[in-house]
């Protein structure tokens, strides 16, 4: 955890504000494009926000928060109640959406999904790669950074407003895509679903801010063997592995509790996990807030 003072709140589009957070008594932890932090709000809620400022600036972080009309209390708090001058706890940066080296990139952002893309595009351009951005939103007034991006990158940025032009044609983008290019997409669920349908999986990287709608078989109870401590923890059918481990005294951290942030990652050494997250757990890992077991026992390195 780190502490930062909320220095400024800047409106950047209809329904979106940027927060400038200054390190409290020292530099903030380094980060790479694509990273996010957990913000612990004064109403005790923890929410993830992508870092969208300059990674070279170690004195402050910038995040941009969209006021979700169906807010569960996080973005609403930021927009209606958060006051400058307040000290906030923020996590160390975590990156589930890192920029891999490539000669060419296609970035696709929808609405507030622009946040991780802003520093990615800057970094790709700086590295001398061919980089394009298709930025989709209802209207330019609702799209953070639309003007700045156009001013900085000119023709490399295409602003697509759905109020005027309807949905963008991803199939056409896919048809003309350089087979070696990497595609980075962040936006609403419907946009990511479309991208996953048209771009080759090996070329596509996505980040979901909220879990995709999915169906799973009914939950059942199972056992988790914690091999390092020699203890076995029972996970009830209606209980998450995270809760079961926490209750048993294992201090596994958590953030979103819905499989999108990655803070509850634990090492799996035996058994077959049933991955239910939206991040894509690497081999030998699981996100235990949502993922369960296909085998009657799991062995974890705790």
């Amino acid at each position: 955890m780190q502490r930062a003072v909320l220095e400024r709140v800047e409106p950047v589009a209809e329904g979106a504000v940027s927060l400038v957070l200054r390190g409290d008594g020292g530099p903030l932890a380094a980060w790479e494009p694509g990273a996010h932090v957990d913000l612990v709000l004064p109403n005790w809620l923890t929410r993830q926000y992508s870092l969208c400022g300059d990674p070279a600036d170690r004195d402050s972080y910038r995040v941009t928060v969209h006021h979700d009309p169906l807010s569960r209390g996080g973005s609403e708090y930021v927009h209606l109640y958060l006051r400058t001058g307040r000290t906030l706890e923020i996590s160390l940066p975590r990156n589930n959406f890192p920029l891999s080296p490539a000669a060419e990139y296609l970035f696709i952002a929808g609405g507030i999904g622009i946040t991780p893309i802003v520093p990615m595009l800057a970094s790709a351009v700086e590295a001398g790669a061919v980089a394009r951005l298709v930025y989709v939103g209802r209207s330019t007034a609702t799209m953070p950074f639309a003007d700045e991006l156009r001013a900085t990158y000119g023709d490399r940025v295409r602003i697509h407003t759905t109020d005027e032009h309807g949905r963008p044609d991803f199939a056409a983008l896919a048809a003309t895509l350089n087979p070696l290019a990497l595609v980075y997409c962040c936006g609403p669920a419907s946009m990511i679903d479309t991208a996953e349908a048209v771009f080759p999986p090996s070329r596509l990287r996505v980040e979901r801010f909220r879990p995709a709608a999915k169906q799973f078989a009914l939950n059942s109870a199972f056992l988790v063997d914690c091999v390092r401590s020699g203890r076995t923890v029972e996970v009830g059918a209606e209980q998450s592995v995270l809760d079961a481990l926490n209750h048993a005294g294992f201090p596994v951290p958590s953030g979103c509790r819905e499989g999108v942030c990655g803070s509850c990652e634990i090492p799996v050494v035996g058994g077959e996990p049933e991955h239910r997250d939206d991040i894509g757990a690497p081999p030998g890992r699981m996100y235990c807030c949502v993922s369960r077991a296909l085998s009657p026992r799991l062995a974890v390195d705790l």
Partner: protein, 213 residues
């Protein structure tokens, strides 16, 4: 009745409302005028920081019930300046409140923010809902609320801090009072006539308390 309770010769005497007014006078205008018919920005901010409220309802005969509700600050949602929504989570035992509201839609709420001596009072009419857009706003820990109570606000006012000042509610030293009470296990074991070690009952309850959502 306990053998050492003061024995009354009769019930304490009842006095008329006129007699009450004669003793304490009419409420001053200042106090009366602070009652609003909508949630202004100060009330909204207060509700957004309140992790606790007391909810009073009553049945068709007027028999009242008051129950505690609590969650993260702002768990009661302000839908607009005349409407609130309060989530119902599993194990809330909200059934009594729902049954009352079906017979009598009057509701009284008292919001409390730890550390603040004034409380916010809201009175109005209420009904249950399963509106998905309302329940979506109440998701916590990845779980949705099952139902919510919609409150149509009639009166909103801040209630002065004397009661909380006199009760030293926010004075950490007041917590010493807890040590003077029997454990929840002792109370439950005796009240339910259970023949088990109260410490076991306490431990069972503690385990249940950890499954909050």
């Amino acid at each position: 009745m306990n053998s050492n309770d003061v024995a009354f010769k009769a019930r304490p005497r009842r006095i008329s409302h006129e007699e009450v007014r004669a003793r304490i006078g009419e409420p001053e205008d200042l106090i009366k005028s602070k009652v609003h018919d909508r949630i202004d920005r100060h009330s909204r901010r207060f509700i957004a920081h309140a992790p606790f409220l007391a909810m009073a309802t009553s049945d068709a005969t007027g028999l009242p019930d008051c129950s505690p509700r609590g969650d993260y600050p702002g768990f009661a949602k302000v839908l607009d300046e005349r409407t609130l929504a309060i989530p119902d989570r599993p194990g809330n035992q909200l059934a009594d409140s729902f049954r009352n509201l079906a017979e009598n839609d009057g509701i009284g709420l008292m919001f409390i923010v730890p550390g603040v001596r004034e409380v916010l009072r809201v009175n109005g009419r209420a009904y249950p809902t399963d509106e998905p857009d309302v329940l979506a706003r109440m998701r916590t820990e990845g779980k949705a609320a099952q139902l919510a109570i919609v409150v149509e606000v009639a009166e909103v006012f801040f209630h002065c801090g004397r009661a909380l000042i006199r009760s030293r509610l926010w004075d950490p030293a007041s917590q010493a009072l807890a040590a003077e009470l029997p454990s929840v296990g002792e109370i439950a074991a005796e009240q339910m006539g259970l023949d088990i070690d109260p410490a076991v009952v306490t431990r069972m309850l503690e385990a249940e308390y950890r499954e909050l959502y």
